[in-house]
Symmetry: C3
Subunit: 154 residues, 3 copies
């Protein structure tokens, strides 16, 4: 029954992309809700979140600490939004890569300003619990080549 | 033929997510095209759109009136964009929930400003005509806890 | 075996939408990485990119030239992000249409400003190499009716 195998492979290909996209889509709402634990669990237990020039967090506790920390808590108190752009996703077996922009908008003196504009490269791995982020690298798009390099095709 | 059932269920799971995402993706273009009727029809006939501190619209006529009203028409005349962030979507049988950010950008004196930055929680229902929004709640991310609460996981 | 046919058609419908969404999602990262050739190849060889009031590029060489040209290179040197909104996608056989917003954010004197806010209408065609853009039309949402018209439903 070759069709069945084919159907299953085609379904898996779509499900994998959907799962990766959903992980990315959850990041912003969880960050701005301040749900540090659920946000950290988007990553594998040994996952990394590298925010160039600000912090490198390794593992759930350190990633959660970014959300629990004073910089993020002040942003939340002021009013903020972590909005991600559409992600270009490449799946290859049990690993995947995604590239997208991200914005941080901040409420300030009664209006909203664009606080950060970044490039992001994510790596994902299929785990027993489903897809999880292994690494997210984020760099400010302030003209630096390092940020642009994160957006190059894979 | 267990595979067939399984394939069908897996397809339906993907189709449901796709349908919900498409409804959300249509909102911004329809709002900025001023297509009040098509926008209202993203909701069920008894659907609600709650814009905290501004309006609560119930049913197609009231939702369409938000787009036909003077606030939105002035925004369109000035130049505006209602841009939504990626939606974190949870489907459970015939209902679904989504959380996302939204921005309103406004053209003002020759440049663009960020007019509103909001949190959104959507509820959807599978109807005879396909998925439709039952409720969208929108609140300004100006530091208020009520807005952040809309983004919490479900 | 009607189920098999049905499964295949349902899979194809999802795959088509996924392919179109991926093409759109690649645009911003490729633009801001300065990868002119890969960006041009999102279009068919005779594809068009119409940026109202700025340029009409026809074919890969002209589309790549937009990315290689002085306006875009200056934006990259300053720091910029081409961020697209969620796309409302309609597939009909071997052609598809999508509508979405796009933002260009620019780094300027140490902060980020919203440089452009546009409406976009894309047309796609299924080719031997997969889905490709046939035409993208982009117009500034500065109050002009022409821009709003790009966002109307199809």
């Amino acid at each position: 029954m070759p069709e069945a195998t084919d159907f299953s492979a085609r379904l898996t290909a779509l499900e994998d992309r959907e799962a990766v996209r959903e992980l990315i889509a959850r990041y912003g709402p969880l960050a701005d809700a301040g749900d540090a634990q659920a946000l950290a669990e988007l990553w594998t237990e040994d996952g990394e979140y590298v925010v160039t020039g600000f912090a490198t967090a390794r593992g759930h506790a350190e990633i959660a600490a970014l959300i629990e920390g004073p910089v993020h808590r002040q942003l939340m108190a002021d009013g903020c939004a972590h909005l991600l752009g559409p992600a270009a996703v490449t799946v290859a077996g049990d690993v995947a890569t995604a590239r997208c922009h991200s914005l941080v908008l901040r409420h300030e003196a009664g209006s909203f300003v664009v606080h950060r504009v970044s490039a992001n490269r994510w790596s994902f791995r299929r785990t027993a619990k489903g897809w999880r982020a292994v690494r997210r690298e984020n760099a400010l798009l302030d003209g630096a080549e390092a940020a642009r390099a994160l957006l190059k095709g894979v």
